[in-house]
């Protein structure tokens, strides 16, 4: 038995697949790909498969990790090739590695966010305003957690933030707290910024990388 870390890309219409549905989808894909899985022992044997950090519904992910336990001889390259033949459109394995770090070492994530406004003026105004708010160090919003709803200053959960307007769109690059202890959904940050300026825009969020506490890549 050995553990492997599969890095997948989730894009296109597949982003509308919820976390629970992703679980089912990958379980079937590994079966179709005939990956020699290790099964748990007990009354209801099931393969060991863990999504390290759920990707919220509606967001694109470029490099998202899943851990699998396998049994038997198969190379990483073979796993990748067979999985990609078995996965539905919008899901793709981009890399297979040995798990170097534990899931609880994930502390942040990089995002690129595109906001599309109705008019170029709106985009410019928002970009300038959003940059100023993030600079000010205070953006309060209600955040839900298992312990209930509380008001949080989102700026304390954002490590890096930059934005630029072009025509009707605003491009944001941000590094945000992520992981099992402190996590901020990028959607919440964007909606809080939009609300601060009573603005409306179409939001496309892409998580580009998961990072450790020192903001180096999670491996």
């Amino acid at each position: 038995m050995r553990s492997v870390r599969l890095w997948y890309k989730k894009s296109g219409l597949a982003i509308y697949t919820s976390h629970l549905d992703m679980n089912r989808c990958f379980t079937r894909a590994v079966r179709r790909a005939r990956i020699p899985l290790w099964y748990t022992e007990g009354f209801n044997p099931h393969p060991y498969m863990t999504f390290l950090l759920p990707l919220p519904l509606g967001q694109t992910g470029l490099r998202e990790p899943i851990d699998l336990r396998i049994e038997g001889e198969i190379t990483d390259e073979e796993i990748r090739a067979r999985m990609n033949a078995a996965l539905p459109e919008g899901l793709e394995i981009v890399d297979v590695t040995e798990p170097a770090q534990k899931a609880n070492e994930i502390a942040a994530a990089d995002y690129t966010i595109t906001l599309t406004f109705d008019a170029p003026g709106e985009a410019e105004g928002f970009a300038a305003g959003a940059a100023a708010v993030m600079e000010s160090g205070e953006l309060n919003a209600e955040k839900r957690s298992k312990r209930g709803v509380k008001t949080v200053n989102l700026c304390t959960l954002v490590h890096r933030f930059s934005c630029a307007a072009a025509d009707c769109t605003v491009q944001i690059a941000a590094t945000i707290a992520a992981g099992s202890t402190v996590n901020l959904n990028a959607e919440l940050l964007v909606q809080a910024l939009l609300a601060a300026f009573a603005a409306q825009a179409r939001v496309d969020i892409t998580r580009t990388a998961l990072l450790c506490a020192d903001l180096t890549a999670f491996r």
């Binding site: 296109g12 597949a14 509308y16 549905d21 989808c25 079937r28 509606g58 078995a86 179409r202």
Partner: protein
């Protein structure tokens, strides 16, 4: 593929995965390469439609033709419908995202009466007139199949064609004909008259219905050369019949999400309330070899880890032991769970039961249907109390602690004693648990009683019977609950208003079409969903159309009354159904077809051959 215009709204609706398409094994073709585009519509949500085996079969069957492309269509849930209507986005097909109104054939599968308003709503959302007469061009032709079309009369004005019986052969014949008539630029009328000549094709517009002063049907008269009786299609050989080797695998969790393979059609039992048992006669079996090959192919192409062997009464399958003996070694090896729904308790070997539970243990369900032996004899459900109790005892010994019992109320000749008998039988099952010698310590038993109400259906011996009014059913439900004396027995019941509406339309005639349209225009849809069923709007609609719904449900029909579905021929003869009705009133049972041929008449559809009369297929 969802239409581009709709994508920005996906995050505003519940379960956006219902609408995106792009699932594994969905079939994408180039529309320029096909002659016929077929929109297969399921008039309910994605999760329910994607659970339906018939859709999977016909989807693969049509797509196996290079000249046709079949796509799936589902009813958008109310949140999505509001967005589509607000932005003028018409009903679209799942694979291409193209508007359904551009298709040549629009097919609905009619599995339950309470989906009728959804059909009208979907046609309207597609931008099409709901009435067939207002759709004057040759295409799209709107067709329907499924159990409900054994009496399509309440929906007759909306459909161009219905297809009673098995769809595998007639679908291809209809596509061939439409392709030919489209190429030669024929009119819709010319096409429909030609289609009516195909066996198993019903064109409602070609039949005139007249009524007596008392509201009953006087006569049903064919026109335009249509046949007097429309005989249902019957596929004789299930081994050579088309069956899919791939299922579209949904992203979303759907109701039945597994490999499903039919093992036979029809039923030898003859339970008198069961429409499926009569509509699908004669019994035809698939060989174990075919079943196994189909299971394997589907598991490989989908990655499913569960197989459901599907039929009306699984343990009556001649090849069951042979099939399981062959199949279990590889399914256990591959961690695939095999489930046998509709398993009868009286004839299933214990050892097989144990092997079946090697992968994952499933629940234990019995369907005695009635509380006393007398009433079980009336409905011809030939299960004895001893059999229920001894099987339950075996199951308890094997470690089960939960049992589900299915019953019906509103059965003909039912008395208080019969209803009390339901509580008594549930109590007896509880007692069986506590009487076992090695009862596990500290564990309790739970018996769930699920209570349905009888809806008398066409082509059953009960088609002449009155249906209990909703108030009466509620009284009976309450009486049963008052008879239950232990918390180990829980009772779940249905709202009798759904059974009431179902009953009206099941045995309805063409005059009900106005009621359906009126109710739909008032906003009725998704009537099978308790949160959507609007009883007031329905009762208003009956009143506005001057129709008494109880005329269709609460009245005892006489054997010589012309029934609205008398021009449909499902093989079983009226004479046989009358005989069965009379026996029911005398509480006399009819043995299964395997013990003694009851002479139902359905073997005529198979050239005189019935599976039960020829040697067993093993």
């Amino acid at each position: 593929m969802i239409p581009k215009a709709l994508e920005p709204y996906l995050m505003q609706v519940q379960k956006p995965g219902r609408y995106t398409g792009g699932e594994l094994n969905s079939v994408i073709k180039n529309k320029a390469d096909v002659a016929i585009r077929y929109a297969f519509c399921f008039p309910d949500t994605y999760e329910i439609g994607m659970s339906h085996l018939g859709m999977k079969i016909l989807y693969s069957l049509v797509n196996a033709r290079p000249d046709a492309w079949c796509e799936r269509v589902f009813a958008p849930w109310t949140d999505m419908e509001a967005i589509m209507r607000a932005h003028g986005i018409p009903l679209y097909a799942h694979e291409s995202g193209d508007p359904v109104r551009e298709f040549d054939l629009i097919g609905f599968t009619m599995q339950y009466e309470l989906s009728y308003t959804n059909v009208l709503n979907m046609l309207d959302l597609a931008g099409l007139p709901v009435c067939a007469a207002d759709r004057t061009a040759l295409t799209p032709i709107v067709i329907a199949g499924g159990a409900c079309v054994c009496n399509a009369e309440p929906m007759a004005p909306f459909f161009d064609i219905t297809l009673p019986g098995d769809g595998e052969e007639v679908t291809n014949e209809l596509i061939d004909l439409l392709k030919e008539y489209k190429a030669k630029g024929a009119t819709k009328r010319e096409f429909l008259e030609a289609a009516a000549q195909i066996k198993g094709v019903y064109v409602p517009a070609l039949y005139d219905v007249s009524y007596n002063a008392d509201g009953t049907v006087q006569a049903i008269t064919p026109t335009g050369g249509a046949p007097e009786k429309v005989e249902k299609r019957n596929v004789a050989d299930l081994d050579t019949m088309f069956a899919p080797t791939e299922f579209v695998v949904p992203f979303l969790e759907v109701v039945h999400d597994r490999t499903t393979v039919e093992i036979f059609r029809g039923c030898i039992r003859g339970c008198r309330f069961c429409q499926a048992g009569f509509l699908n006669r004669p019994l035809r079996e698939k060989s174990p070899q075919t079943v196994e090959a189909q299971c394997r192919a589907i598991c490989e192409s989908t990655g499913y880890d569960e197989i459901s062997l599907c039929s009306l009464s699984t343990s009556d399958y001649h090849g069951l032991e042979a099939l399981l003996t062959h199949m279990l070694p590889w399914t256990v090896e591959e961690k695939i769970n095999v489930s046998l729904p509709s398993l009868r308790i009286d004839n299933f070997p214990q050892e097989l039961m144990e092997q079946l539970n090697a992968v994952r243990r499933s629940g234990l369900t019995f369907a005695p249907e009635a509380g006393t032996q007398r009433l079980r004899d009336v409905i011809n459900k030939n299960i004895t109390e001893e059999a229920v109790l001894s099987t339950a005892a075996q199951a308890f010994a094997g470690g089960w602690t939960a049992v589900k019992l299915y019953f019906m109320i509103g059965l003909p000749t039912e008395t208080e004693a019969d209803i009390r008998g339901i509580a008594d039988l549930a109590q007896a099952v509880v007692d069986a648990y506590y009487h076992q010698e090695n009862k596990p310590k500290g564990k309790s038993v739970s018996v769930s009683v699920s209570l349905a109400s009888l809806v008398p259906k066409p082509f059953t011996p009960f088609q002449w019977e009155p249906q209990d009014r909703p108030e009466v059913l509620i009284e009976k439900q309450n009486f049963l609950i008052s008879c239950v004396k232990t918390r180990k027995v829980s009772v779940s019941r249905h709202v009798p208003w759904t059974s009431f509406l179902e009953g009206v339309f099941a045995r309805g005639d063409r005059r009900l079409a106005d009621v359906i349209e009126t109710a739909w225009r008032k906003g009725c849809h998704f009537d099978s969903w308790e949160e959507c069923l609007d009883r007031e709007k329905w009762m208003e609609s009956f009143a506005e159309c001057g129709i008494d719904p109880y005329f269709y449900t609460a009245r005892r029909r006489s054997f010589d009354e012309v029934l609205p579905w008398d021009h449909m021929d499902y093989g079983v003869t009226k004479r046989f159904l009358i005989r069965e009705n009379e026996k029911a009133h005398r509480a006399e049972t009819t043995p299964s077809c395997r013990e003694h041929c009851a002479g139902c008449g359905a073997n005529r559809l198979n050239g005189g051959v019935c599976n039960e009369i020829r040697p067993a297929v093993v």
